[in-house]
Symmetry: C2
Subunit: 350 residues, 2 copies
Amino acid sequence: MTRIAVDAMGGDNAPYEIVAGAIWGAKDYNVGLELVGKPDEIQQVLDDIKENGFRSDCGRAGHLHKIEVDYTKLDIKITPASEVIEMGEAPGAAIRRKKDSSIVKTVEAVATGSSDALVAAGSTGAAMASSLFGLGRLPGIIRPAIAATMPTMNKPLVLIDAGANSNSTPEMLHQFAVMGAIFSKDVIGVENPRVGVLNIGEEAGKGNELAKNTFNLLEECKDRINFVGNVEGKELFSNICDVVVCDGFVGNVALKVTEGTGAVLFKMIKHEFKSDFIGMILGWLAKPFFRRIYARTNYEEFGGALLLGVKGITVISHGRSKAYAIKNAVRVANEAVAKGMNAKITGFYE
Amino acid sequence: MTRIAVDAMGGDNAPYEIVAGAIWGAKDYNVGLELVGKPDEIQQVLDDIKENGFRSDCGRAGHLHKIEVDYTKLDIKITPASEVIEMGEAPGAAIRRKKDSSIVKTVEAVATGSSDALVAAGSTGAAMASSLFGLGRLPGIIRPAIAATMPTMNKPLVLIDAGANSNSTPEMLHQFAVMGAIFSKDVIGVENPRVGVLNIGEEAGKGNELAKNTFNLLEECKDRINFVGNVEGKELFSNICDVVVCDGFVGNVALKVTEGTGAVLFKMIKHEFKSDFIGMILGWLAKPFFRRIYARTNYEEFGGALLLGVKGITVISHGRSKAYAIKNAVRVANEAVAKGMNAKITGFYE
């Protein structure tokens, strides 16, 4: 049975929502768990949920559903960790200083083979640094990268690198393309994913040196990667590619600009509908429609981003994650393990 | 009287919509015009509009209003140009080869002092290249940059550089900050504009070398620039800064991702409301509200982006521009001339 290690202390809503989401996922996807953190706090949440259940909006903003999970019917291991790395701490220093922190111990669980994959909703930097340090890189991989999943009208788009490296080379971006395509196929279920380079024009020869050289590298191995050329920011969601590769600085800006644009548009919509009485009534009547759009674009559906290229599966969830997001993170981690994603990545370079 | 040179042949809707917008702007803002292109085609549009007027949605998507402009009551000069640079042509080669193209002649009108500023809706690359070549840089300016204007809930945000340079230095970004702030104050009307560096984290020390070094440079001259630190993509529209500086590659991606996100969200909304009968009725009733949101976020309101740092004022309008956008481009060009923006930019470095 696959076992997923979960940093029970990481994230704004830890430990309650994290533990709730973890056992919800364990039940739904039939996986074992290793909950890492302060044992008494974790046990208290488990007992509380066994008795009372918990409530979740199931990613649909609004009505809360009662979810019941009896942890005694699951395969759960609790692994103690006495410290927690906070959001503001410098990741590198923090993982060296806090050797008994929940994230370091969660990574250790995978490194020692006690678990098969991990989910962490605390400091992204700490999850990345401890995974890099504790798991090491897959053979042949220059630098691991973060693969983020973005909603579109069709299948979700993989953006890689979403922030692990802000000084990439074309060779790194080539590897991101390989890893992103395997992730898209195995976890998102896209047959023969189309790979594009995020660029400022569609024609070959456009963009900065990195984009131009990456284009050329990928053009050379079209027999192994379904390379479709340059993709502009405005075409990201137009179903012209399934995986888009870029430097982590650019990718992080793109990812967060998407978040910011979505937020300001929904704010403008709210503002307009509240501007008069008819609008208020229409807005109220239209709520179910807006909720469905919200659900489609909700980051919680995807559970989190993957750190690809390390010896292990690391799912990095949003710091604001609630139970529903963590449940999906467990699903993603389980999928990645079941499909043997890492073996396929190393296999590409053999 | 200020005179604005307009490339009458550039853009998807040239010459009709371009000429219509130009004379509309000339009438509304009381400026002289220099229409550059094929004289008979331009004259035909002028005569047609004098007789029949033209129709515009005034940036509000939907109902068309009839606009009447009698060109004989305006101060209009027609300057012949026999060639047109098409969207696909390589800008550098095209402006050298087509010396009698409308964009080259439009730039020449400003270079020779016949006009005070120019508006161009054709190939952005050609407008940039011919402005750089034909007007030259302002003294002390390393590289000109494109300042794009983005809608927010409050005053529009200036993003600079939106695509002129994809290999920037911290010194260049420092100058973009100065030019962007002067533009924000003079044309958008923001008193003491707040300047931020587009980055992947808020704390000092975050990001790539360019972002870090730009942060330090701007931090050193806080007495002359209202520098507010790093700004993340998701905070762009949260009213924490009025001007955001970045490399042109990153800026172009950010600008276009905003466009792409807006488009896919409106598409999702349409799709949801069309999914059942009640939705269709609600969607129909809610149309005026959505139109108001559309109008708020419509790029046409801003007329176009400015190429800052050249000896002259170049407004680069969207290739899809219709009359309303060109009218606003004339307004922006006129504003920039009236406020003596370029004198202030050179003044900063004296």
